[in-house]
Amino acid sequence: MTAPTLISSSGQLEVDLDADTALEQLYAAHWRGLVRLAVLLLRDQGAAEEVTQDAFVAMHGHWWSLRDPDKALAYLRRTVVNRSRSALRHRGVVERYAARQRPALNVADPADAPTLVRDRRSAVLDALRALPTRQREVLVLRHYLDMSEVEIAETLGISRGSVKAHASRGSAALRALLSDRLHEGEL
């Protein structure tokens, strides 16, 4: 996607870029991606948009200390992850009840590809929601945002060792959950 050019960390732009312009540029480049990140963490799109909007407002307020699009993006991602976690905590009781009530996914007719994809989408989002929070966060940062262990550790404020442990336990758990729900041979 072609978005307004953001000069990366070593760039000279930081002196010139004011908070409003930064907000507009970062919105253009990352709004959709960050909402999608929040959907992976929260499952619910409305809540994901709320959380992401709050993150942008917070970033705007901190721009004077960030003053760099790369730092601002890292800040936005961290804030989306943190606020998603708090949103889930508030929703926890309701969610746990809803999860028990959610009917098992139907196994789709393989000939019906769109249904299959829809089912796989919900299977992936359901399976992510079923993971412990840290495992979900680590997996999403690793595989959706392509972050390195070091970056994940910085974003979540945990050690590299913990990142490694959450990643291996999380991906084993996720694969187990998904293989129950998806057709054989799709994973």
Binding site: M1, T2, A3, P4, S8, V15, D18, A19, D20, T21, L23, E24, Y27, A28, W31, R32, V35, R36, V39, L40, Q45, A48, E49, T52, Q53, F56, V57, H60, G61, W64, S65, R67, A113, P114, L116, V117, R120, R121, V124, L125, L128, L139, V140, R142, H143, Y144, D146, M147, S148, S171, L174, L178, E186, L187
Partner: protein, 325 residues
């Protein structure tokens, strides 16, 4: 190959968030006003230090620099209103004949309109491998009327028949090019009616158009391997990742990174979860390029060729130029 990356991307690739720019501007203005009151003691001092620091860098002096209104944002300049990315379709060559490739380009906003998408489509694409065969100025307008996208043709006589040097396949595909492009702008698969002065046209480029048209099936019309990200001439540092869609034998989507001499410096295969009946998303996961010298590289994705080139038309490819910093 990173199967979780592909699954995660697919899980959210249809999520199109609502545009919240208006709420966001409102929220930061309110937050800004609140912050000014709150930060009179601490925040403004810190802000003044920052501004002084900048002033030194810029002017070599810290005299008479007004600390200024750092806390509250000034009104957002609406002339710079954000430009949404339009998905524009162009003809490209594949071993199966011409197919449509998609390119994203910023255009008039805040909401995308089919009219703007067509005027962008009539400009030349960023990717030199793509092209449009419609003469500039063919389409003067487009709008949604009663759940049909009316595409207004300025001079119907000039495009009623196939143009010189245009194959029947290119003519059909050019009609699909318009359908895909305006449908992308309205983000709905509404039928498309070619019109002049509001009346339906009997044919365009020799293709019958008296009724509203549905888009051609993706597997018949679109390139079987294409790149959505990165965009053309994207600058990357340390690493990048790529994604797109494909329908390739056994779901295998090989990719290569070539240096300026055309030497393959990285390669791997991404995996989709199906093939044949439609296009499926692929994603590379993280591609580490920190070991490569800065310069211009080409990222290539292709359909798998089970015969190894021994038979059949060979793979469909899509390429992007990337610049490694």
């Amino acid at each position: 190959m990173d199967d979780l990356a592909t699954l995660f991307k697919e899980a959210v690739d249809t999520v199109e968030p609502r545009d919240r720019r208006a709420e966001l501007r409102e929220a930061v203005t309110v937050a800004g006003r609140r912050r000014v009151r709150r930060t009179v003691t601490g925040g403004l001092l810190a802000a003044a230090v920052v501004v002084t620091g900048v002033a030194v860098t810029m002017h070599g002096t810290d005299n008479h620099q007004d600390a200024g209104p750092v806390g509250p944002p000034r009104a957002i300049d609406r002339s710079r209103d954000d430009r949404p990315a339009y998905a524009l379709y162009y003809l490209g060559q594949t071993p199966k004949g011409p197919r449509l490739y998609r390119e994203f380009r910023p255009g008039p906003g805040p909401d995308m309109t089919p009219a703007s998408s067509l005027s962008l489509m009539q400009e030349q694409p960023d990717d030199p491998d793509y092209r449009t065969m419609w003469p500039d100025g063919t389409f003067s307008d487009a709008q949604v009327v009663n759940d049909v996208i009316d595409v207004e043709v300025a001079d119907p006589a000039s495009v009623a028949h196939r143009l010189d040097g245009m194959s029947p396949a290119q003519a059909e595909l050019s009609v699909d090019q318009v359908i895909y492009t305006v449908q992308a702008a309205v983000q709905e698969e509404l039928p498309v009616q070619f019109t002049h002065d509001g009346s339906p046209l009997a044919q365009v480029l020799g293709v019958p158009t008296s009724e509203p048209l549905a888009r051609g099936e993706a597997v018949d019309v679109l390139a079987l391997a294409s790149i959505s990200n990165p965009s053309e001439r994207r600058v990357v540092e340390g690493y990048f990742s790529a994604d797109g869609q494909a329908s390739s034998f056994e779901g295998a989507v090989p990719w290569e990174l070539l240096d300026a001499n055309g030497t393959v410096v990285k390669h791997d295969t991404a995996q989709t979860y199906g093939y044949g009946d439609r296009l499926y998303p692929w994603a590379t996961g993280r591609i580490d390029v920190s070991d490569l010298a800065p310069g211009v590289y080409t990222f290539v994705v292709m359909t798998a060729d089970p015969s190894g080139g021994a038979e059949g038309p060979g793979p469909t490819r899509d390429t992007r130029t990337i610049i490694i910093k």
